[in-house]
């Protein structure tokens, strides 16, 4: 193999979207780059797979509306086949009485819709949107920055924290104060300050808990995750709308093509077994095959546990560092159910064009309490018989994803604990499918007859197949103790690892939060700046 004897400027371990973004930026800057992905496909959690012949499923992530527009432009993704298909409504919240609450990208249309449930809420909604846009604007600025390195934050370092806020000072102190007040709140408390209708609150609150372990009523930053999801969204609202033409994996393909066009080399089926460190600086990697590849720098685009407890020999790591790595909280709570449908099921209560109801995000989240109850039992390693569901029928906007006339229904099921108290997920796999179909049949009674085949991804497979640690979609919960300068670990928030030439760029690093590409970009910039 020609890789022998060659020394790369940078090796990137992991071909998820962040690894590929980093590869693009570095190759563009003239570095020789090698990406090593252990699976046979690129994309990590941003991936399209044909589980059923002819049906292209977005296996895990389905929405790329959070991708940083700057990344898309810098890497010319549109030249490489990346396109977002506009879909509307943004959200359709299915209700038990056969009703629907639709949230549109257009505020006035949403106001009309909300008015069916509460006049007061309809009036409050535009003000809510306006205020939260300002506040999430501050969070958006915080997403972009490289957080300060505050290894042991002492009281007197508080002034350092102003570095976090300085980019947003021109947005006004009043809004900064709002952020500070909201940080530790639950999204439920936040919404209670604005709205009265349970239906309205349930439809909106769901956007806060997509990537966290917590329920919407728990006081641990769900108001913050709500704002953070808002801050990266392409709709100007709390939820993004980013169905990718051809499936979400087309984004990863575009990223790969972009990186290759700048000269990067990408290898799949190339699991890294060791990141080689010698005399406190990085030397390269050793593949599972035993082959050693040298590099001046290595970026780990995979999670911290894998990076520092498996790939790097922890023997030479500081005790405190290992403790921080071990203390990262993951706790994935999702399962994914993909249905290949013979035909579109009939959802009750629809009036007119079905795509006006079903082409955006469809939720079973009739109230905040419903979602909270769905989450309550994960504490005990159990799951609720009434799950919160978040789904898409991507074939409505992009029929190319399935054979003629057929459809795809992809469902994210929460809350499903990674650690089960009794039993194991391999045995319970079919139960998840049954639970989803039973739950949805209440809204679409003929669903069962429409299902041609199903593919279930258990919380355990999120780890065993997709390398998400404990099934965490963001390689470590988005929680107050794991954000900004504490992400991924205190003292290492600047994408630099504990050895010279070692960097981190997965979603485990700031800003976390999903398919944004910001981590990959920031890490690449840090590396280039260090040269």
């Amino acid at each position: 193999m020609s890789e022998k004897n060659k020394k790369y400027d940078v090796i990137i371990v992991g071909g998820g979207h962040n690894g590929l973004v980093a590869a693009g930026y570095l190759a563009k800057a003239g570095q020789s780059v090698l990406v090593l992905e252990k699976r046979d496909m690129l994309g990590g959690a941003t991936i399209t797979e044909e589980f059923v012949p002819g049906f292209k499923f977005s296996s895990l992530a389905n929405d790329a509306g959070s991708l940083s527009p700057e990344v898309a432009t810098d890497l010319k993704l549109h030249n490489h086949g990346f396109n977002i298909i506009p879909t509307n409504p943004l959200i359709n919240s299915l209700l038990p009485d056969g009703n629907h609450l639709r949230i549109w990208q257009d505020t006035e249309k949403t106001v009309e819709e909300i008015a069916k449930f509460s006049k007061a809420d309809a009036e409050a909604y535009p003000k809510f949107v306006e205020r939260m846009q300002k506040v999430s604007g501050i969070v958006a600025k915080m997403n972009e920055i490289v957080p300060p390195d505050l290894p042991d934050l002492a009281f007197f370092d508080i002034k350092e924290l102003s570095a976090l806020l300085s980019p947003s000072l021109n947005l006004g102190w009043r809004h900064i104060a709002q952020v500070i007040r909201l940080l530790p709140m639950s999204v439920s408390d936040l919404l209670n300050e604005w709205f009265e209708s349970d239906t309205v609150k349930g439809a909106i609150a769901a956007s806060a808990i997509l990537n966290t372990t917590f329920g919407p009523q728990e006081i641990n930053s769900t108001a913050y995750t709500f704002l953070q999801n808002w801050s990266v969204s392409n709709t100007g609202l709390f939820r993004s709308s980013g169905q990718v033409k051809g499936g979400v994996g087309a984004l990863s393909e575009a990223l790969a093509k972009s990186a290759q066009s700048f000269g990067a080399t990408i290898m799949t089926g190339a699991a890294v077994a060791k990141i080689n460190i010698s005399a406190d600086s990085v030397r390269g990697v050793i593949l599972a095959s035993g082959e050693e590849i040298l590099a001046k720098a290595v970026i780990s685009a995979t999670d911290m546990r894998t990076t520092f407890l498996k790939l790097v020999d922890p023997y030479y790591l500081e005790a405190k560092f290992i403790k921080h790595v071990k203390n990262i909280k993951y706790q994935g709570t999702m399962a994914r159910v993909h249905l290949a449908l013979e035909r579109l099921p009939t959802f009750s209560g629809m009036d007119g064009d079905v795509s006006e109801y079903l082409s955006g995000h469809i939720q079973v989240s009739p109230s905040v309490e419903y979602i909270q109850r769905a989450s309550d039992r994960i504490k005990y390693g159990e799951y609720s018989e009434k799950p919160y569901l978040d789904m898409q029928i991507p074939t409505l906007a992009d029929p190319s994803l399935a054979p003629d006339g057929k459809h795809i229904l992809s469902v994210t099921v929460k809350y499903m604990p990674y650690k089960l108290r009794d039993g194991n997920w391999d045995d319970l796999r079919e139960e998840i499918g049954k639970l989803v179909i039973d739950t949805l049949s209440e809204y679409a009674p003929d669903l069962r007859e429409c299902v041609q085949e199903q593919k279930i991804i258990t919380p355990l497979e999120m780890e065993s197949v997709y390398a998400l640690p404990e099934g965490s979609p963001v390689h470590g919960d988005m929680a107050l103790n794991q954000f900004l300068w504490m992400r991924p670990m205190p003292g290492h928030a600047q994408y630099r690892g504990p050895f010279e030439g070692l960097y981190m760029c997965s979603v485990a690093t700031h800003p976390g939060c999903g398919v944004t590409g910001i981590s990959g970009r920031n890490a690449a910039r840090q590396l280039l700046g260090d040269q």
Binding site: P314, A319, K320
Partner: protein, 397 residues
């Protein structure tokens, strides 16, 4: 509160009922009404100290050597089976967390005794190595110390005690009871530590005390031990240093180099926690060094005379921070001190700025009488203060 497996005997013998707590275990401070008799037993006959409460960990598995080499400052790979090491361990900043004794029981098997409990830290730092750590504090342990200790043990065992070298151990039987005997101790004298399963503890005690009648054997408590360990120049946690784990401020922490146990820090081995910081400290130069002080009795007598008092000497060891001066400037502190009956000297362990640590340097130590701060002259000396050749010599065969 927990009781040592020897408690059925120690509780009967502890006449003044003077107990204290050590890691939540009951420990006798003294058995006789006056601990000085116990001290003299250590130095001129023999005594037994029930050290069972000392935290003990059994560390074993294929990677035990590599694991311990990461944790402690000594070079474990060079410790032979049956050998024993004094060692320290540090945090990432090279500040001492504790010191203890490491016994190599087998190729892949060690026992570590510590000042504080460390199970959590030990388990947290396995770095994926194949090693098992078990708390075996329940093991009964007696320290038999003093010039007659070997002769006494020889009456109970066929083991080759004459050839058991200092800081080595053997498996043996004492009066038919299986034990491990290590030639170790905290007194700086000829002495042994005997390790026994808890259910055999009382019979072992009885056998040793029966044989001990011919050797003036007495049990001794913590007060006598403190005097002996200061004479031996041995450090004590929470007195001569604090564990970096349990203090808040940097000035409360110290490095093993500052504590004078740099000889137990093997800087050139592959890696250990704190190594980088300690190398940097060496390069920078030490901020403190640890030495002995001999207090000038004439000078001290004069201080007491000012108050119309006769010379007072600490017959019980003290352990607190006492300022040390040179030319009116504070240059450090003494951390433990005692009257040494065998040396007929008042001695202290002190940590001073390096320019004041060469032997013979004259310094002043604070003496407080009636809340008035006075100073007595003292001289810097090397430690240990008391180091008899019998501590390390082999037996006569």
């Amino acid at each position: 509160m927990r009781l040592s497996p020897f408690n059925p005997r120690t509780s009967e013998l502890c006449e003044p009922y003077n107990w204290s707590l050590w890691q939540n275990w009951l420990l006798a401070d003294m058995y006789a009404p006056d601990h000085i008799q116990e001290y003299y037993a250590i130095r001129s006959a023999c005594g037994v100290f029930d050290m069972s409460p000392i935290p003990k960990y059994h560390i074993h598995g294929p990677d035990a050597v590599r694991y311990l080499d990461r944790i402690v400052t000594q070079d474990v790979s060079r410790c032979a089976v049956g050998q024993v090491l004094y060692t320290a361990w540090c945090d990432d900043e090279g500040k001492i967390m504790d010191d203890g004794i490491l016994f190599r029981l087998g190729e892949e098997s060690f026992r570590l005794t510590t000042g504080d409990p460390w199970l959590f830290w030990l388990e947290d730092n396995t770095a994926n190595l194949n090693v098992v750590i078990e708390d075996v504090t329940d093991l009964g342990t007696l320290a038999l110390q003093g010039p007659f200790s070997r002769d006494l043990l020889k009456t109970l065992s066929k083991a080759d005690l004459d050839n058991l070298r200092y800081f080595h151990m053997i498996e043996a039987e004492l009066a038919g009871i299986p034990v491990e005997i290590s030639r170790t101790g905290y007194t700086g004298d000829l002495g042994y530590e005997i390790w026994v399963q808890p259910h055999q503890a009382v019979p072992l005690w009885d056998a040793i005390f029966e044989a001990g009648q011919d050797y003036s054997l007495v049990p001794f408590g913590d007060y006598a031990l403190e005097m002996a360990r200061i004479e031996a120049g041995l450090l004590l946690i929470d007195a001569d240093f604090y564990s970096s784990k349990r203090v808040v401020h940097d000035f409360e922490k110290s490095s093993p180099l500052e504590l004078g146990i740099g000889w137990a820090v093997k800087m050139n081995k592959d890696y250990f926690i704190g190594q980088k910081a300690l190398k940097a400290e060496l390069a920078r130069g030490l901020a403190w060094e640890t030495v002995g002080l001999e207090i000038d009795l004439n000078s001290l007598e004069a201080v007491y005379a000012e108050f119309g008092m006769p010379l007072y000497l600490p017959y019980e060891a003290w352990m607190e921070a006492v300022p040390v001066y040179s030319d009116g400037q504070q240059i450090g502190k003494a951390t433990s001190g005692t009257w040494s009956p065998v040396l007929k000297k008042y001695i202290a362990i002190a940590r001073l700025r390096p320019q004041f640590t060469s032997p013979g340097t004259r310094v002043n130590m604070e003496v407080t009488i009636d809340a008035q701060r006075k100073q007595t002259q003292a001289t810097v000396v090397k430690m240990p203060f008391f180091n008899p050749s019998r501590k390390t010599s082999l037996g006569k065969v």
